[in-house]
């Protein structure tokens, strides 16, 4: 009954776009919009992520009294993972609060593409942690985009590094077949240029295989895979596409151990619907995995013990919940950094952008924040809006995710030329004069 009541409240609020926190705008509040999707085909992945974000903002307010005394005012807007709704949410929320939106986090590469020019014009940073435009790593061109912790080009490189390791070395990649089963959207297409570069360098045969939204029907793709017999299948899916891919792989007897999902294809809702068939399936980790760390103890103490949690307590520590918390923490720390320069007051998006671009999280600071074990040090700069490019690989053992690799670092020598080339083309097309990062402070 309690679940039903909670669902009623969450859905009512999400559908109406109503605020979870107090809607009244006080002058000492920092407004942060949350573009989320708790309904629609991707809700199974969108909801736990949003729960992590909401719980972390509430934690900052409840435990710390805000960011240096500036309370976080946030509001959810339901996008249902649709680009048009995402743009609508952005337009509606960008000017809210005393200083407008501190930053925007659309949780959709499609929405990111649609908002990139708008956010630059409105001077509101767009944080795309682990997704978004890979070329936006180049902050000289994309001043307001922050694809923190890893782009899809970093992910593609890490996936191929892991395949090479399993095969016994990069030289063993030559002549192998690697397929990419991808969501036929800007998100799914994003790794293709990098995988083409990698295929050329290492001599493997690369085959992209699109799956139409939302991915409920994949029989033809998997029959094609059965015929082509690739050595590995990389999965760039979201929502129902991931679990369906695993089930179809099982149906054609393709070994799950040879499937490697991107970090958006490696959460609990991606494997549990497939039951035993998911055992052996692997995915990249955007550094963190599932599990509880010191910050979770605070969330339980300050939020859930007071009955203010946004999900069932058992779901605290799931992969996407942790990712939502990590994303929220990076945004909060960027505001904190910006406050060092602009004062402990509500800041504009432009000021928060400075905070993001100068954010350095050391191991000691990460420990202080309670994220030790979830995150490695992050250092963002004008020329590097990604800030870190580490990853690991986890494997589903039928009951939980197990980390099966050491840390990988994406190979910048391969990624950087592509970033420079594609971002330069974007700058030329949009008539953007790249900033001189040496002069940025």
């Amino acid at each position: 009954m309690a679940n039903i009541a909670r669902n009623v409240l969450i859905l009512a609020a999400a559908l109406s776009g109503a605020a979870f926190s107090a809607p009244a705008v006080a002058q000492n509040e920092q407004f942060i919009p949350i573009l989320s999707y708790r309904t629609g085909p991707y809700a199974v992945n969108g909801a736990p992520y949003a729960n992590g974000v909401v719980d972390y903002y509430n934690l900052i307010n409840e435990r710390d009294g805000g960011i240096n005394g500036v309370k976080i005012l946030f509001e959810e807007c339901e996008t249902a993972y649709a680009t048009d709704k995402g743009v609508e949410c952005y337009e509606r929320l960008k000017s809210k609060g005393p200083t407008g939106a501190a930053f925007i986090n659309p949780l959709s590469t499609g929405i990111t593409f649609a908002l990139t020019e708008k956010t630059a014009t409105d001077k509101i940073p767009i944080i795309t942690m682990g997704y978004g435009r890979a070329d936006s790593k180049n902050g000289a061109v994309f001043a307001y985009n922050f694809p923190l912790l890893g782009t899809y080009w970093s992910a593609a490189d890490i996936a191929i590094q892991h395949v090479a390791k399993e095969l016994g070395g990069f030289d063993k990649l030559k002549g192998r077949k690697i397929s990419l089963l991808y969501h036929d959207s800007p998100y799914g297409k994003e790794p293709i240029p990098m995988l083409q570069v990698l295929a050329q360098k290492y001599g493997f045969e690369f085959t992209p295989i699109p799956v139409t939204h939302p991915g409920v029907e994949q029989k033809s793709q998997w029959l094609a895979i059965r015929q082509q017999r690739p050595d590995y299948v990389l999965v760039w899916g979201w929502g129902v596409m991931n679990s369906t891919a695993i089930k179809e792989a099982a149906a054609v007897a393709y070994p799950r151990e040879k499937m490697i999902g991107v970090w958006w294809s490696g959460a609990e809702p991606d494997v549990t619907p497939a039951g035993d068939q998911a055992t052996g399936y692997k995915s990249l980790m955007l550094q963190h995995g599932a599990g509880k760390f010191p910050v979770h103890a605070d969330v339980e103490k300050y939020i859930y013990a007071k009955g203010k949690g946004s999900t069932e307590p058992a779901k605290i520590g799931e992969v996407l919940y942790n990712r939502g918390m990590t994303n929220a923490m990076l945004g909060v720390e960027a505001i904190r950094k910006a406050q060092e320069k602009f004062g402990k007051k509500p800041l504009t998006g432009e000021q928060v952008r400075w905070g993001l671009e100068n954010l350095i999280l050391t191991a000691a600071r990460i420990k202080e924040l309670g994220f030790e074990g979830m995150l490695k040090p992050v250092s963002i700069s004008c020329s590097d809006h990604e800030g870190a490019r580490y990853g690991r690989v986890q494997q589903w053992d039928g009951k939980g995710w197990k980390v099966i690799s050491d840390w990988y670092t994406a190979d910048e020598s391969l990624i950087e030329p592509l970033v420079a080339d594609v971002s330069a083309k974007y700058a030329a097309e949009k008539k953007i004069k790249p900033r001189d990062c040496a002069k940025e402070t």
């Binding site: 559908l15 029907e217 033809s220």
Partner: protein, 309 residues
């Protein structure tokens, strides 16, 4: 020989997938055939039926009921939910719209779709709920003849069997029962049927209930295939080309339409897709549907409606 074996595999897989689309299409046909309403909410009804079944099943199993008892009770509970839904739709939506034009009734079912989706997720949750009523592994046939054999998924075979039984049952119902004939009369003309004493409210309740039960059957198969979740509502989009090809008023047409769509889209995706970028099966099904529309606007098995002025 290998290429022929692979083609056979794609063809059989496509035909089987098509039958699963037909399971959803049948619900559309039932309501259109019996009431002249194009029920946009059929996909949402599959979601509602699936959620009611799987949540009841999980609860009963968690409380120590043997699986078979839980399945029977779960199906019973879901059937009651679908009956309640049918009553509510008849009472508050289509009932008050008797004798309105088809477009008005169609628009009302769009509203019903969003209400069902929202309420179903609100009551039963929006996670993915695994349902395992049928085997999902595969047979590999003719392994001696073709290397690797020809893959046939057991779930697809179950789906085909169920669809066959449903079609036979529904055909008998429409042709041989008094209620079935009354349903057809109401579809032809609401007011005329009412004037000769056919109780329209009851008939519409029966037809929406029948469509709800067909949705429940579809949910058992598709829920096993995908897990019960919101994306099941997208099956309505897969059923549309099936309906266009088979005809909105023909139950066997839903099956034949499904077979054509399933086989056509899979063969197109596997053999044509790679040369033009892939991901073509969704729209290719509509290409097939358009081709049929141009030749037979009423579909291959649909009734040609002639209205005298």
């Amino acid at each position: 020989m290998i290429a022929f074996g692979q083609f056979l595999e794609v063809l059989i897989g496509g035909l089987m997938s098509g039958v699963l689309y037909s399971l959803v299409a049948l619900g559309f046909v039932l309501i259109f055939k019996a009431s002249g309403v194009f029920n946009y909410a059929q996909g949402a009804m599959v979601l509602l039926a699936g959620l009611a079944l799987v949540r009841a099943l999980d609860l009963l199993v968690a409380n120590g009921f043997p699986l078979w008892v839980a399945v029977v009770l779960g199906i019973g509970f879901a059937a009651v939910i679908m009956a309640a839904t049918a009553w509510l739709i008849e009472r508050f939506v289509v009932g008050p719209l008797v004798n309105q034009d088809a477009l008005t009734l169609f628009m009302s079912t769009i509203g019903v779709t969003f209400v069902i989706e929202g309420v179903a997720e609100m009551i039963f949750g929006s996670d993915v709920y695994p349902l395992r009523l049928f085997p999902t592994d595969a047979w590999f046939l003719f392994e001696g003849l073709f290397p690797g054999g020809i893959l046939v998924n057991k779930l697809d075979v179950w789906g085909a069997l169920i669809a066959g039984i449903l079609v036979a049952g529904l055909a008998l119902f429409f042709q041989r029962t008094k209620t079935g004939r009354a349903l057809r009369a109401v579809a032809d003309d609401h007011l005329a049927a009412h004037s000769v004493g056919i109780p329209i409210s009851w008939i519409w309740f029966v037809v929406w209930l029948a469509a709800g039960l067909v949705a429940l059957v579809a949910a058992t198969v598709w829920g096993t295939k995908l897990g019960v979740q919101f994306s099941i509502t997208f099956l309505a989009l897969k059923a549309l080309p099936v309906l266009i090809i088979g005809g909105l008023t023909s139950i066997p047409g839903a099956i034949v339409g499904g077979l054509i769509v399933g086989a056509g889209e899979k063969i197109a995706e596997v053999y044509l897709g790679p040369s033009i970028g892939g991901g073509i099966e969704y729209w290719f099904a509509y290409v097939l549907a358009l081709a049929v529309l141009l030749v037979r606007p009423q579909g291959l098995f649909g009734e040609r409606i002639i209205e005298r002025i």
